[in-house]
């Protein structure tokens, strides 16, 4: 409870997009929309990111608390629009991941060695003709920034010409990934 109060106070100071996840019909599930992040201040909240295409999703989980958060970024680099990065840092991999990881650690007083990382998204077109390869760039950028931040990726569901829907149980560290009408379960513990 004490931790939750601290988290609420800290979230209040962050840019508004951090706080914009609406609740789904299930009140224990927050839907994180594209260009946003969510570090819930209530225990046992599930986090969902729907239809993740070329964008990227990063889920952080600290088993010792237990607690989790999700970032759903859209583009690899904030140099495209530094003004936009100031108001909506979660849109870009570089500004989003930096803020997300720092916020998570600060909120939960997590130690980096206790943090498990899940990376998803980066869908690519069916053949190699896609000149822009935004999905690949989104994932490459995330891997590089996570490494710079001293975090190791525990599990990945990236690439492929498919959207993914992700549901993350922050109480258990279990992630459900739905892709091409099939589901997969990943355990971050």
């Amino acid at each position: 409870m004490k931790t939750q109060k601290k988290v609420s106070r800290f979230l209040g100071k962050l840019p508004s997009p951090l706080m914009s996840s609406p609740q789904s019909a299930n009140t224990n599930c927050h839907v994180v929309s594209i260009g946003n992040m969510d570090i819930p201040d209530a225990a046992g909240v599930d986090l969902s990111a729907y239809s993740v295409g070329s964008s990227g999703v990063i889920a952080l989980f600290d088993e010792t608390i237990p607690a989790g958060g999700i970032l759903y970024y859209m583009l690899p680099d904030s140099s495209l629009s530094p003004e936009r990065a100031l108001t909506q840092p979660s849109i870009f991999a570089d500004t989003g991941i930096d803020l997300f990881v720092d916020s998570f650690i600060k909120h939960y007083k997590s130690k980096k060695e206790n943090i498990r990382v899940f990376l998803a998204g980066g869908a690519t077109a069916q053949t190699d003709d896609d000149a822009f390869k935004i999905g690949e760039k989104n994932i490459e950028r995330a891997r590089a920034i996570l490494k710079e931040k001293g975090l190791t990726i525990t599990a990945e569901e990236t690439g492929d010409p498919s959207n993914r829907t992700i549901r993350f149980q922050t109480a258990t560290g279990t992630i459900f990934v739905r892709m091409n009408a099939a589901s997969k379960e990943i355990h971050l513990k």
Partner: protein, 279 residues
């Protein structure tokens, strides 16, 4: 299978949005009057009631409520009323589950609306009529509705080809069915009396530079489909079994920076749609 034979098999045809091509013609004609428009909308009582209800919504911010269709159209403007009617018609057409594409209730409509908003936003940059661009974006998926109703058994073979042989959805459809969903959409649009400026870009959405006309519109639709996929709006199975045509990229003069700016712009358009239509 021939497209004509397939269409005859469809037990439940999509309801025709008959008013849209008529409204588009009125919009394009210099001879049409305001009264012509009011009269056309008044013919469908249910539609007229929905136009009035939406006109009084917070989005349009009218100073006082209106209970008169003529007054509503005058105050909101014909372009906005056209978009509103296109939206109502498309929702009636698409707001269902489309099981064979693994699309839940409303998902096809959300994606179509997102594509329409992106098309409309990009239209001025490519000297296109925004309402035509909006209509093309909104209706480009109707072939999927017909396929969902008529070919559920056969369609699993399409996904086998997409997922195992790595074919694009359009190519896999052609190999299994003999035609693709864009051709089915175009068939219905012709039947419903839309003009070539709407059905050609839709028919050639996967190969836009092969369109016999309106190639710029076809290229823009092709790009909008790709942009909507980047936002995750094109949810469902086979959403990424689509290749961005290099010829279309060149014809629209797109650089990497430009395309990323368009992705940002597409997000803004979709955010606007969500707040506008409370999605």
């Amino acid at each position: 299978m021939k497209l004509e034979v397939f269409v005859e098999k469809i037990k439940r045809l999509p309801p025709a949005p008959q008013i849209l091509p008529k409204l588009m013609k009125l919009l394009a004609s210099t001879d049409s009057s305001f009264d012509d428009i009011v009269q056309l909308v008044s013919l469908d009582l249910s539609l007229a009631a929905q136009v009035l209800r939406l006109s009084n919504s917070a989005y349009y911010g009218l100073a006082s409520k209106t209970y008169d269709l003529e007054d509503a159209i005058q105050r909101i403007g014909f372009q906005e009323v056209y978009k509103m009617i296109a939206l109502i018609c498309s929702k009636q057409l698409m707001d269902h589950e489309h099981e064979i594409f693994d699309l839940g209730k409303g998902e096809l409509w959300r994606y179509s609306l997102g594509s329409a908003m992106i098309m409309e936003k990009l239209a001025p940059e490519y000297e296109m009529v925004p309402t035509t661009a909006y209509t093309i974006g909104l209706l480009h998926t109707i072939g999927k509705i017909a396929i969902n109703s008529a070919a559920p058994g056969v369609y699993k073979d399409v996904f086998k080809k997409v997922e195992k042989e790595k074919l694009t959805l359009a190519k896999a459809e052609r190999e299994v069915l003999g035609f693709n969903n864009a051709q089915v959409a175009s068939f219905f649009l012709k039947k419903w009396d839309f003009t070539t400026e709407v059905y050609w870009p839709i028919e050639y959405q996967f190969k836009p530079t092969s369109s016999p006309g309106n190639q710029k519109e076809a290229c823009l639709l092709h790009l909008s489909i790709w942009l909507a996929s980047h936002l995750g709006l094109n949810s469902g199975r086979g959403a990424w079994s689509f290749n961005l045509s290099k010829k279309a990229v060149d014809s629209l003069n797109l650089s990497e920076k430009k395309i990323q700016e368009y992705i940002l712009m597409a997000k803004d358009s979709w955010d606007e749609a969500q707040s506008l239509f409370n999605i």
